[in-house]
Each structure stands twice: as structure tokens, then as C-alpha cells.
Symmetry: C2
Subunit: 498 residues, 2 copies
């Protein structure tokens, strides 16, 4: 059985409408990039008006009743795999958008735009109490949204599903349950050892940027379809043939610039690597936050922080900056992977990073379920941090105010970072089997085989498969935390001589 004429016409109309929506959404992303990189500071208010106008157009398109009619008209049609996947995405977005009352969507947009500012002020003053009331408001609205989306199911699951389709809190809990004891045990042993030396001194920031560009190229980022600029927080933006990344520089910490660049290059290469036939369709972007993060993490960590690659990078660094004051490439490798007692998630290492996420996962579930009141977040955070990390949080900016996420309503987002690490662990293990010369390539600064493997097995598919399916197809087995944990244990045991 094939599609009838009516079905074919409905499909064509729906995809043409979607094409225009995707193009408009691309514009929205371009403006966000501009806002963080190029926009004059005096233009913020006007830009707010422009973005509001575009959001209103996009919202109207996403709730256009014709989408429901077209979808109904295609019901039962025999579709190609690609068209079926497109319709799956369109249906999913339409269903979710229609479930959220317009009043709630508008209220969320309004409150989160205010609360981000309140968060920034509160963080600057280490004053959680100043942030708590608006946080309570954001939580209340997201609870309401979660309930609307959940159809009687768990509302936190409904929020997670926004970032990682098919994922549930129960699955995440099982995953973290496997990870927690092994990571804590390893952390304890590592922290008993003397800490390796880090970098000292100052590093010219223009030279850092020049080296960042070189690293981006080294990892296969196509600068004819992208560009690298500076911003306060590094990010990757866009898809298809216009995928831009940013990084930042600090005179005393060149690793921040360089590894932020490699991380964003991972995100960007995913977007650049998607089958160009999917451009401006629902398949033309990364399939989920978890899979996206798997790409940024594997570029940054399993490749970028490997002994082989850091040996090559050591040569680049000394060529660029002269003597680094470290005792050769192995000391450099140790400096790159140094495990320290610290507070900040984004500055954490591969070993401790997931412990930061587990803390957030538990606290945000409690906020969304209502078990934890927003006003009590700071004390709950501090208590839990001390339990997990063994020392006290001295001030809110090093504790519960360190991340922007909750202020903008991102609940259910944090676990996708760890999921990305887990996916990266699986992909890395499979890739190592497939590429026996990986380390000798990396030691030459040659990532071509690795990035080609990722493009072939993950990136090209865009939104064609479901998130877990992407990893399962690439690895031949469903994703589990085992390979990541094995990798981390092996790496840090060797590095710290355990």
C-alpha cells in the first residue's frame, strides 16, 4: 500500500510549512548568537522586542491547527523512513506545544526573563534569599507545565523528555546508582595522592585564540560553514551550513579557552556532520541534548584529554607560549587532567563532574515534586554538597547559585550532561576497537579517523533515529554506564598510580 493523493498532498503541505518554520527558527538562533557576540549593549531592549515578535510568529506556527489536520490526513500512509521520522518529530512538538496553555507559555517566558537577571544579581552578591522568591515562581510554573505535559504520568519525566526524548527519572536513577559508588571510591583514592602541578604565569590571549582556531580545524570544524568568536559563556549555535561557536580567554588559564573550544567544536561538528538532505527539516539538528553532549564530551575528553593528544598539544603550547614550566609532556597530561577539591561544575574534571550532576538531579527532582521548597534550596544544597564532597560550601556563588539553568527554567536538563558522558563512554569504547591506530594518530594531532567514525556512526543521522537508538546502532548494544566508568577508572588509576 502506498500513500493516496490526499495523503501525499497533506504530507507535502506539512513539510513545506515545516521548512519555513525551521528557517524562521534558524533566524532566531542567529539573533541569539548576535546578542552574545556582536550586538551593541544599548540595543538590548530593542532586540527584546524583535525576539518577542519572532517568538510570537513561531508560536503561532507551532500551534497552527493545520498541523493537526495535515497529520490526521497522513494517518495510515506508508511512508519512507525519513518522512516517518520527520512526522514523528512534528507530531511530538505539536502535541507538546498544544498541551501547554498559551497563558502558561507566556507566563514562563515573562518570568524566566526576569529571573535570569535576579539570579545574576543574587550570584554577584552571594545572596540566595534575593533569588528564592522568583525561583519559587519558576518552579511553580514548570510544575504546572510538567503536569500539563505528563498526561497523568510523572511531571519531572515530562520535563526531562523535552531535552532527552524517551528518558525517565527511573532510568537516570539506575544509571547514577551504578556510577555513584565507583566514582566516589575512585575520587577518594585520587584525592589522597599529591596533586599534580598546574600551569602558572600568563598566556597572551590573542595567541590563545589563534591556537583555538588551530584546534578547531584539527578536530574537523569547517570554518567555511562556521566561525569562532569570544563570548562570556562558550556556546555553539546553528545547524547545517551555519554553525558558529564561541570560547573565552583568561590570561592565567589557557585550558579554559582551548578545552571550551574543543567542547563546542564537538557540538558544532555534530550539526555540521548531519546529512545535508535533512537541512531545514526536523531531522536537521542534533537528536537530543544527551547525544549532543556525547559529541562535545568525546571531542573534549576521550580525544582531547587523552595522553596521546595532550602530548601533541604540549608541542603546540610550547611553540606558541614558550616554556610552560612543566616537566615535559607527561607532566602536561597530568596538569590537563588534574583532580582538585573544588566547587564549580563547569571547572570540574572527568572524574568528579558526574557527582556534581547527581547532586543537581536529586535536588531538582525534589523541587519539581514539591518535596523541597525553593526557599530551602541553599541549605539542602550545602548539606548535600558536604556529604558528597567532604567540605563545606563557603558562599552561594560557589554553591546553589553557580549555574544559570534553574533561573531560566531548565529543570530536567542537568542529567543530560551525564547522559552525554555515558554515551561518550560507549562510543569511545567501540571506536577504540574500530580504530587500532587511534593513539598514534592523536599523538600526531590527527583526529581524522576518529571524527570520521563519529560522523559516520552518529552525526550524519541527525534526528533520524531515537536518541538511545543512535547509540545502540553505533555501539551494537544499548548504552550503559559501564564503559565510561571503566575508562575513567583506568585513566585516573594510571595517572595517579593507584
Amino acid at each position: 500500500m502506498t500513500a493516496t493523493n490526499t495523503q501525499t498532498a497533506a504530507l507535502e503541505d506539512l513539510l513545506a510549512f515545516q521548512h519555513e518554520t525551521e528557517a524562521l527558527a534558524g533566524i532566531s538562533g542567529r539573533l541569539e548568537w548576535d546578542q552574545e557576540t556582536m550586538m551593541p549593549r544599548g540595543a538590548a531592549e530593542q532586540r527584546g522586542e524583535e525576539m518577542a515578535a519572532l517568538s510570537s510568529i513561531l508560536h503561532a506556527r507551532r500551534t497552527d491547527p493545520r498541523i493537526g489536520e495535515w497529520l490526521a490526513a497522513t494517518d495510515g500512509a506508508e511512508l519512507s523512513q525519513v518522512d516517518a521520522a520527520k512526522l514523528r518529530h512534528i507530531r511530538r512538538t505539536y502535541d507538546r506545544t498544544m498541551k501547554v496553555p498559551a497563558r502558561l507559555a507566556a507566563e514562563l517566558a515573562r518570568v524566566t526573563s526576569i529571573s535570569q537577571g535576579k539570579w545574576a544579581e543574587a550570584r554577584a552578591k552571594d545572596d540566595f534569599a534575593a533569588f528564592a522568591p522568583v525561583l519559587a515562581e519558576v518552579v511553580r510554573l514548570r510544575q504546572e507545565e510538567g503536569t500539563a505535559l505528563a498526561d497523568g504520568g510523572d511531571r519531572y519525566d515530562a520535563l526531562v523528555d523535552d531535552y532527552e526524548p524517551d528518558m525517565t527519572a527511573a532510568q537516570l536513577e539506575a544509571m547514577f546508582g551504578e556510577m555513584r559508588p565507583r566514582l566516589r571510591a575512585l575520587r577518594e583514592k585520587v584525592l589522597e595522592k599529591p596533586a599534580p602541578e598546574g600551569l602558572t604565569g600568563e598566556f597572551d590571549e590573542d595567541k590563545q585564540m589563534a591556537l583555538a582556531v588551530k584546534l578547531a580545524r584539527t578536530f574537523g570544524y569547517d570554518l567555511t560553514r562556521g566561525r569562532l568568536d569570544k563570548s562570556v559563556h562558550p556556546f555553539s549555535s546553528g545547524s547545517g551550513s551555519d554553525v558558529r561557536i564561541t570560547t573565552r580567554t583568561s590570561a592565567t588559564d589557557p585550558f579554559n579557552c582551548l578545552y571550551s573550544t574543543i567542547h563546542e567544536v564537538g557540538h558544532a561538528c555534530y550539526e555540521q556532520g548531519i546529512n545535508p538532505d535533512y537541512a531545514l527539516t526536523p531531522l536537521g539538528g542534533g537528536v537530543s541534548m544527551g547525544v549532543h553532549e556525547s559529541q562535545s564530551r568525546i571531542y573534549e575528553n576521550q580525544l582531547g584529554r587523552s595522553r596521546a593528544f595532550t602530548h601533541w598539544l604540549y608541542g603546540q603550547m610550547t611553540d606558541t607560549f614558550g616554556d610552560l614550566g612543566l616537566d615535559g609532556p607527561d607532566a602536561f597530561y597530568a596538569a590537563v587532567n588534574r583532580v582538585r577539591k573544588d566547587f564549580i561544575r563547569t571547572e570540574s574534571d572527568e572524574l568528579q563532574y558526574n557527582l556534581h550532576i547527581m547532586l543537581r538531579f536529586d535536588l531538582e527532582r525534589a523541587l519539581i515534586s514539591g518535596d523541597l521548597a525553593a526557599a530551602d534550596l541553599e541549605s539542602a544544597w550545602n548539606e548535600r554538597f558536604e556529604k558528597d564532597f567532604g567540605y563545606a560550601v563557603p558562599r552561594a556563588s560557589l554553591g546553589c547559585l553557580q549555574d544559570v539553568h534553574w533561573s531560566v527554567g531548565l529543570f530536567g536538563y542537568f542529567p543530560t550532561y551525564s547522559l552525554g558522558n555515558v554515551y561518550a563512554g560507549c562510543l569511545h569504547a567501540t571506536m577504540r576497537d574500530a580504530l587500532p591506530s587511534l593513539d598514534s594518530d592523536l599523538a600526531q594531532g590527527d583526529t581524522a579517523a576518529a571524527t570520521a567514525w563519529l560522523r559516520e556512526n552518529v552525526q550524519q543521522h541527525g534526528g533520524l533515529y531515537r536518541p538511545a537508538e543512535v547509540i545502540t546502532r553505533a555501539c551494537g548494544a544499548a548504552p550503559t554506564a559501564g564503559p565510561l566508568l571503566d575508562y575513567i577508572e583506568a585513566k585516573f588509576s594510571e595517572l595517579y598510580d593507584l
Copy 2:
């Protein structure tokens, strides 16, 4: 009599709808800026799709039948001057847009996007014949559009009206008739004199840009609501609190960078100087191309190329680049204002510039009336050029292929450049009377009084008045070519010792 409730409601709905349309149009401008400055070259096709989606949204809004209903509902309402002006603009745009069949608008967009590429190729090869067929197509479509817009009137007038409301070919012809003999007579005398020395040598391009930024600030450009970048062709883009400009650099010709900057600063200061209450309304942009050009020209020429200001600039140049190889500030003034036998409009001087425009005005009228076939343009151009300038055009890139305008369908646009010069002449004469210390200010690099006068008398009004009315209000008399011609004759007679 005041507005009824129904009238008030219709007015509010119309202005709210228009506000969103203006915001979306602002986004379109931002993307065009990005395309010329930041966009990776591989993104062109995708950007085309994005722009097409946004254009289609904008076209749908501009032809939304509710506009007609709202306008009808406000008929007879007693309105404030500001609201009346807003409705005048909305009605004008709506009437014009509705007169052009959708099929024709789409065909024009399609053909002009192709023809611009053909023009660039033809210009690179000096091959007019390769461009003639697509030019004929563009002319045919614009003829058809002009007829649709003209309501039985003259179709060239209808096209001019797009750029300069209320202006007609007859008025332009009378203006050029007054200008031509005086400019030709002066030109002949000047060209008999020995040409002053120009700049020689090379000028660091980063230093040119740093000086360009300083000049932009000197002329009052607010960099907190704008920015200066490089592009192939200099332009100003945006309005309100986000008005960005570009310039270009050539190692051997720093005047190109610096005077392009001042020119674009004039455009940008107009947009930045508009009453902020008009932001995102039809009054929030410059009122016409002619008035816009009056601002860029008066900044660039009457102020920027004055003896007083060039004396200050000479100091800046020698501070920046060292010895210029010229015999002091008066020789520098002569170099800035040097009149040469040349072919290119954009590189022309104040004296000859309008002769270039007159040639284009007559030829494009003949193309639009049908008296001149597109295929015959090159020979007509060359014949006319030799008659006006006294020497032959050696190749098409120095002749009829030098400007992009006709390739993108801009017929009726060229005369607004001369109109801008004429308006600038009127404003300059009035401003000189009002500001007796202008030259001593300019000699210190101080443009504050001049730019404040322009802001007060021209810029702040945005679209509140009709174009000629803006000049009439500022100068106390309707605009004529007299003041510009008097100024040019006085300046070049003195400079060339006639």
C-alpha cells in the same frame, strides 16, 4: 470631535500589528548586516532560505486584509499629528503593496537575485552582452510594476516615489537643468588647472580602522548603539538603538576608508537621532533616500571635506601615519578635494558627482519608458559619457557595468543621491548662518554644534513630516539647487584659484 471607541480600538490594533511588523523588518536588516560582515561563506544558500521565509512572513503581514479594515475603521477620526503620520505611512505602504500582484513581486525577487550574480560576472569580464538579457528582464518587470503602481500616471514617477515620496521626474529634470550648465562650466575651468598632488605610499589598514573609529566618535556616532566593521561595500544598517556601519580599507587609499566611514556615520546618526518614541513605528526610520543622503553627504562633504576639518584631520593623519609627503594642511585639503578625469561615480568628487547621476537619470528613464532597449545600454552610455565628460569609456566595468543598482532593479534610485546633495546644500547654508563659529569648531575636530543642529532640525523627526517638508522646515524655504551650486562654485574656485 475625537475618535470613537471603535476608532480607538482599530487604531490600537493596527499600531500593535505594525509594531510587530517593524520588529520583524528590523530582524531582516540585522540578517543582511550579518550576511555582509560575519556570515561564513558556505552559509549563503541556507541564509537564502531563511531570508525567503522571513520575506514571506513580512509580505503576508504587509498585505494582511485586516490593515485595510483597520484603516477604514479609523477614517474620519481626529488624530494626533504623530498618529496621523503613522497612518499615512501605513496606508501608503499598504496601497503600494496591494497594487503589485503577488506573482510579479515573487518574479522580481527571483529575477533580481539572479541578475545581481550575472552582473557581477559580466563586470568581472567587461562583457555587457552577457548581462543584457537579464537586464532586459529586470527592466520589463519594473516597467510592469511601475505601471501597476502608477494608476495611469507616469511609471517612472511611480518608481521614484518608492525612494522619494512626492518627487517626480519633472521636478528632477528641472533641478538637473539648473545644475548641469553651472557644473559643466566649473568643471571645464577646474580641469584646465594643474591637478593637486594626491597621497602616495602605503597606509597600515589596522591604523586606518582605528582612525575610522575615532572619526565616527568625532561625528557623534554612538558606539553603544552601533558598531563599525569592514565589508566589501560600505553601508549603514538598522535603526533606533542598533545602527551598525561598515567601511573598507585599501592600503594605498586611506581616504576611501575614512570618508566612507564619515558618510555612513551620517546615515547612522540620522537613524540614531530619531525621537526614541518613534522606535518600531513607521516614523522610526529616515523619511526618504534623499533626506537620508543629505545627512551622509553633509557629514562627508560640507563638514568632512571642509578646509577647517581637513586641517584637523591632517594632524590626525600625520600622528597616525607619520609624514604624508604633502606640503602641509592646505596641500592635504587640496588632495582630499582633488578633481580628476575619471569614470567611477563612487570615487568622484563633489564637483563631478552630480554629472554622473544626470547621465544615469536620463538613461534609466529611457529604459523604463521603453525608448532605450536594454541591449543598447552600453552604446548609449558610452556615447553620453563622452559627450558629458569629454573622453571615451575604455571598458564596461568603467562604464555601464560599474554600479550594482540596475541589476537589483533599483530604477528611480540614482536621482536621490543628487537630491541628497541638493538638500545638504540647503541645510549647510542655513546651518552656517546659525553657527558662526562652525569653522573654528571644525578646525578643532569639534562637530558637536553642527551635528546637534542637524539632529534638532532634521534627524529627530524621523518619518513625521514629508521629505521636502523636512528640509523646508529646517531651512525656512523649499529646497532648491542654488545653495549647493553656490557652495561648490565658491569652494572649487577658491581651491583652484579661478
